[in-house]
Symmetry: C2
Subunit: 282 residues, 2 copies
């Protein structure tokens, strides 16, 4: 049985065909362009395969409220051509198989939960720290969702005392996305993260913010596993800095047996997104 999966990112689309065991059999990726042209490119790939279902993990915000008239539409994204684009309806029109839609980060979380580093746990949080910050939770095998998908990148955090930066989020300033995303790092220092690798203070502040966000997610959601992915986390030294600051912030209030096993890197070599998209069909 072949299943199709799409990681519909804001920068690139990854399309894959796999089986129910999480084995990817064919894969293609291309830049995200205009909506109709991008979907046509995806269709051309899947036309070569006999898929029985299609799962899509998309960039957001996206309307995932099933009671809503605009269910499955992209919402107010800065990518103007995609704004209000009826993504799910377009997919349903293009394909004769059932289509399952969720966010990119929820799909990535489900991918790691089913096939990766969080296999065997009951609850897993996946946080991506890239251009923006987002997070998804899988609990007892299901993606968590309230009235719509979570917007965890917008929790407010305490400012670092040596950080005068007012924040990059146009809505909230000092939310975690506004202070710790790749965009925030670039705006704060007028340099790309990659040019700041040797500046210790940059990563101390970054780890402080991410540890604080994780502390807040942790007391609210109590996940068994917390996966930190995304471009900013390619600075691998961040993991140990975040773990240390997280434990200091938690201050023994809740028991953590082994923080090195609690806060971890993704394990599926950037395939967690498509694998999770495929798993959405189960």
């Amino acid at each position: 049985m072949l299943i199709g999966g799409i990681e519909a990112g804001g920068t690139k689309f990854v399309c894959a065909v796999g089986d129910e065991n999480g084995k990817v059999l064919d894969k293609v990726s291309f830049p995200t362009g205009d909506p109709d042209a991008t979907l046509a490119e995806a269709k051309a790939f899947f036309d070569q395969h006999d898929i029985t279902a299609l799962g899509v993990g998309t960039f957001g915000p996206v309307d995932l409220n099933r009671h809503s008239d605009t269910y499955g539409n992209i919402l107010n994204t800065p990518k103007t051509k995609w704004r209000n684009y009826p993504l799910l309806k377009k997919f349903q029109a293009d394909y004769s198989v059932p289509v399952y839609l969720d966010t990119d980060v929820n799909a990535a979380c489900l991918g790691e939960y089913n096939y990766g580093v969080s296999r065997g746990v009951d609850s897993c949080l996946y946080i991506t720290v890239g251009t923006g910050i987002g997070a998804g939770l899988v609990q007892d095998g299901k993606v968590f969702q309230g009235r719509n998908h979570s917007e965890m990148g917008h929790i407010l955090v305490q400012k670092h005392e040596e950080d005068p930066f007012e924040g990059a989020c146009p809505s909230h300033g000092s939310c975690i996305e506004g202070l710790a995303s790749g965009t925030a790092i670039e705006k704060r220092y007028s340099k790309k993260g990659i040019e700041l690798v040797d500046n210790e203070k940059v990563w101390e502040i970054e780890a402080y913010y991410l540890a604080q966000a994780i502390m807040n997610y942790f007391v609210v959601l109590q996940p068994e596993k917390i996966i930190l992915g995304g471009g900013v986390m390619k600075q691998e030294k961040l993991y140990s800095m975040i773990r240390q600051q997280f434990m200091e912030l938690l201050n023994g209030y809740l028991q953590v047996e082994n923080v090195n096993e609690l806060i971890v890197a993704p394990s599926l070599e950037d395939e967690q997104g498509v694998l999770g998209a495929i798993a959405l069909c189960e």
Copy 2:
């Protein structure tokens, strides 16, 4: 069919017998004393009724991790006689019917979800602001739980610029419980909240903190309904102040159709705890 419910609070126990429609038929309450004596008093009440199951919503922290050796035990509470008390095992030994255990605030949330102001919604957050601060979430009819119950009172929040108080939480200082619980108000001003009713600044700061906590819970959990209960919320003017500050903090990022319907008071006249405890048995 009669079901027993206990709201096992740190100050008082409320025991009730009800039916599956949320009708309370008999009820008693008494101060929380030593553990064994308190449980004996509860038993004396339930011995008068032929119950088929018992639900208990308890103060915490309590071990609700089913994989744990100490599942059902009270954990590290300041009430020293209750520390490590095997609450669930004691109930199971005392009663010949199935016993269901959760936290007091999760039970209260379930009570409102089944019988109260949040009936008909898919997800509901119940926050209690009293001596401490706690919150519980019911999602699709089930109490949300990760590796253990949520500890939402311990999220970190940004300090109000006119608040020099360092916070009352021994673990975190400036978490929401440390800054906005009844205990925090009393420590900050060396007066009880009730003596501060006419001091506008007190409630402005209080509303600022609670609005911030709600903002963070909201973006993470996206509940359809947020119920604010507990002793501090008896200051009814807080509701409109919190709603206003919440909308300012959210700043249009997520759509809220009617904040007066999103953030509300409890509806069950202090019976949400026992009703929810009864509903735990369903």
